[in-house]
Amino acid sequence: MPAALILILALAACAKPQEAPPPWKIIDASTLKAMMASGKVMSVFNTMSEIECLDHRIPGTKCLSCEEIENSAAGLPADRDQALVLYCESEGCYRSCRAADAAIHYGYKDVSILAGGMPAWKKAGYSLESVERIPRMPVVSVKAPELREMLAKSKDILLVDIRSEKSFQEGHIEGAVNIPLYQITRRYDEIPLDRTVVLIDDRGFRTFLAGSYLDRKGLKVMRLFAGMRGWQEMLAKKS
């Protein structure tokens, strides 16, 4: 009997401590669709940048980039008790989780994020709406080793890093300028028309749309394949 007790206590002591669950709720695409159809009072925000959000978003939702949410609660509803749903475009909850964190911090009680983001919404077979569609242009991609060679040979290249200010400060390619994507509509004219622009982001997923947008503004654009992740992997391999 005492032996059994000791054994049980020992097993309990060895048990893995549970990771604390996040302070926001996680809902799936069909739940969100049902919630929105039910007429419940709620605000659903697309946390991507404005140009991405206006290009494609879940119908009936609003645009408010996660950087803007982190900067201030101004864009969020005044009623802290109102249900908030935040979603973004990654399957791994990058931006919507950051935004949800900020919202909790501001005191919103009912915050949810969409599991799997917009890709999950699409996989479930639901449609999106487009307010201001950006026509896709053939934006050429270069891989990290190629880019390094190009930088060594030519002074014409301008590296434009479209990640948020915080990510840029944590580490960027030497000589890159930071124009976060959520500010692009106000700042694209800072980019000279006679330089060849190479767009850089986290993983390479967002520079295509950014490039199509800037191409329509008359700029010569290319993009870094796999973004900073590709660049860092190249550096890691060399060492």
Partner: protein, 628 residues
């Protein structure tokens, strides 16, 4: 007459009024839709009057569709004109249902929100072109954005550009409308990607007709599948082994003699080095697509295969013959004895005859149990790899926890078996060269009656048995060990030499490269595999017959587990040994008590379980051999 006149006037008036009404109705009908009517093409083109819509669209494949059959959300042209109604994103899946279903898996849709018209430009002017080279069009489209020179400078890309209709375009490997991406970092990819792409390569390179057209071998896929890489991949665990693209690279696939090719001998160190490390240069002579039937190119494999096959067939044919004839003789004899009501003496033993005497010491019994356990473990972890295409293999490997885990357990059981055999070899040395006596008279001991080494008497016994099978003589009188027991014992030593030696070489190929070149790995794998088949089939059929199915012992002989049997049985089965023990006065020292119930139960259970498992595995193995 008056009425007649009036009659003619009334119809004319009514016709006129009818016509007037009709005219009014037409006007109303024509103008009524203008109040809130849907758009027809002429209306749209009133504002959207570019040549693209007025001219090109009419020549396009969609010309018979109205504008709103795709731009479905426009219901009221006035509202649209005033900006209150905008068309939704077009869903081409309304008509192109199958493609839309595939497209929902497409990376470009899920992550980049590409729509059909983003690639099919300009969608309003698309024409059907039966003469178009689809593959060329695909490469042209993909490289608009993915402008990597790797793709088109050589290999498949170059072949397509030169007009080869068989070579793979981007879509053949990556999918056309269901393009998938496996969150790959650039140069290494996870298991799903390797599995996905390897299947794509196999699809064309195993197609005989296509390979013949292009003067290539259609057997390369089969040869790959016969190697360790191919078998583990087949089992469903692509992560730790090379798929096609790991060696041949993804895009600039070049033939071996091209100096830039990843499989050119000069580049192999870097190529193989992406997964293997710590090997000697001779490691690189490994053959990734061996053909054991090719005498010119792979002579050692060929002759090894002939030898092992000959050994297998020869051994099994001889012993199955031996088994069948023995069974026939014993069954017939038992039938006659039964008919005449005669019981075998061992069953009617009394007095002294009932005394239990030891045949196997406790140590020997434990070692035999360990041998059984390690043998079954080796078979259960090894045969799924040998027959990796079989459905049962995948189930068993999953039960072990995957191919890697099965491999570790296999090596663990092998260590146990090596330990057992090493211990037995040590005991054999002690028997041949006992303490205090040394090598004096060792030959006499080697060929003596207590030895498990074959001698001339065994040959006599063999001849005697065959005569007895055909009712041409008495059954031979045996001493301690019969020739079939000696064969069982010595065969393990041969087996350990072949399977153990090859197994050690295969244990970690990088280490083996310090002593043997890489091409030896295929030979080792062949020896290992064929010897395993011989050992398994022999044990599960011949050995199990000797111990379980021979009618005098059916369902099993517990002796090897309990260690003792009746004196009467000793007299009956090993008469010469009995006489020798009596003469040397050793019999008393072998007397033991009757085994208890627990020991008997455990022995029977363990023995029968082994029998059933062995029969089940034999069935699976035979099924796999026949199914190939």
């Amino acid at each position: 007459m008056e009425s007649g006149q009036m009659n003619t006037r009334a119809p004319r008036q009514s016709i006129l009024s009818m016509a007037g009404l009709l005219f009014l109705a037409v006007i109303v009908l024509v103008c009524l839709p203008a109040v809130g009517r849907a758009a027809n093409p002429q209306d749209c083109q009133f504002c959207h009057d570019e040549p693209l819509y007025r001219v090109d669209f009419k020549k396009s494949i969609h010309a018979n569709n109205g504008c709103t059959s795709c731009h479905t959300d426009i219901t009221n042209i006035e509202k649209h004109r005033d900006g209150k109604e905008k068309p939704a994103l077009v869903d081409c899946g309304n008509c192109h249902q199958d493609i839309a279903k595939e497209y929902r898996q497409n990376f470009h849709y899920l992550q980049e929100d590409f729509r059909c018209s983003d690639c099919h430009r300009n969608i309003h002017a698309i024409k059907k072109d039966d003469k178009k080279n689809i593959k060329l069009a695909i490469i042209g489209k993909c490289t608009e954005c993915h402008g990597n020179a790797d793709y088109t400078a050589s290999g498949h890309g170059e072949a397509v550009l030169k007009g080869n209709p068989d070579a793979a375009s981007c879509a053949d490997c990556h999918g056309l409308h269901n393009t998938r991406v496996f969150h790959t970092s650039l140069e290494q990819y996870p298991a799903e990607a390797r599995e996905f792409y390897t299947q794509k390569c196999k699809r064309c390179h195993a197609d005989s007709a296509m390979m013949k057209r292009n003067d290539l071998s259609d057997k390369m896929v089969a040869y790959y599948e016969s190697t360790y890489h191919g078998k583990v991949q087949e089992l469903g665990y692509p992560a730790p082994v090379a798929g096609c693209a790991d060696c041949h690279t993804k895009h600039n696939i070049l033939p071996k003699d091209d100096p830039r090719s990843s499989i050119n001998p000069a580049n192999l160190e870097q190529n193989c080095g992406r997964c293997h490390s710590g090997f000697q240069p001779r490691f690189l002579s490994y053959k990734a697509h061996p053909d054991y039937r090719d005498r010119e190119k792979y002579p050692s494999l060929y002759w090894t295969f002939l030898f092992m096959s000959g050994l297998l067939v020869g051994t099994l044919v001889f012993f199955w013959g031996h088994v069948i004839l023995w069974w026939r003789k014993v069954y017939w004899d038992h039938h006659y004895m039964d008919k005449m009501g005669i019981l075998p003496p061992s069953l009617t033993a009394t007095g002294e005859g009932l005394q239990q005497v030891q045949r196997f010491s406790p140590r020997e019994r434990i070692m035999h149990v360990l041998l059984i356990l390690s043998f079954f473990t080796l078979v259960l972890t090894g045969f799924p790899l040998k027959y990796s295409e079989a459905a049962w293999s995948k189930i068993i490997v999953k039960l072990w926890g995957g191919a890697h885990m099965a491999g570790l357990i296999h090596r663990g059981a092998a260590l146990l078996l090596i330990a057992i055999v090493a211990y037995v070899a040590f005991e054999a040395c002690k028997f041949l060269f006992p303490k205090g006596v040394g090598s004096k008279g060792w030959l006499k001991r080697l060929f003596g009656p207590d030895s498990l080494f074959p001698n001339l008497k065994d040959l006599e016994d063999l001849k005697g048995m065959f005569k007895w099978y055909f009712n041409k003589g008495e059954a031979p009188k045996f001493d301690r060990w019969t020739y079939w027991e000696k064969f069982d014992f010595m065969a393990v030593f041969w087996g350990m030499f072949a399977i153990g030696g090859s197994g050690v070489l295969l244990w970690k190929p990088e280490w083996s490269s310090y002593i043997v070149p890489g091409w030896v790995m295929s030979v080792a794998a062949l020896v290992h595999s064929e010897e395993a088949l011989l050992a398994a089939l022999f044990i599960f059929t011949v050995h199990f017959f000797n111990t379980h199915f021979i009618p005098s012992k059916f369902p099993m002989d517990r002796l090897i587990f309990t260690g003792t049997y009746r004196l009467e049985e000793l007299k009956e089965q090993r008469p010469l040994e009995y006489e020798r023990l009596v003469a040397e006065e050793k019999l008393d020292g072998l007397k033991r008590g009757y085994p208890g119930i627990p020991l008997k139960l455990i022995s029977s259970t363990f023995g029968l379980a082994s029998l059933l498992l062995g029969m089940f595995l034999t069935a699976l193995i035979v099924w796999s051999i026949l199914a190939v």
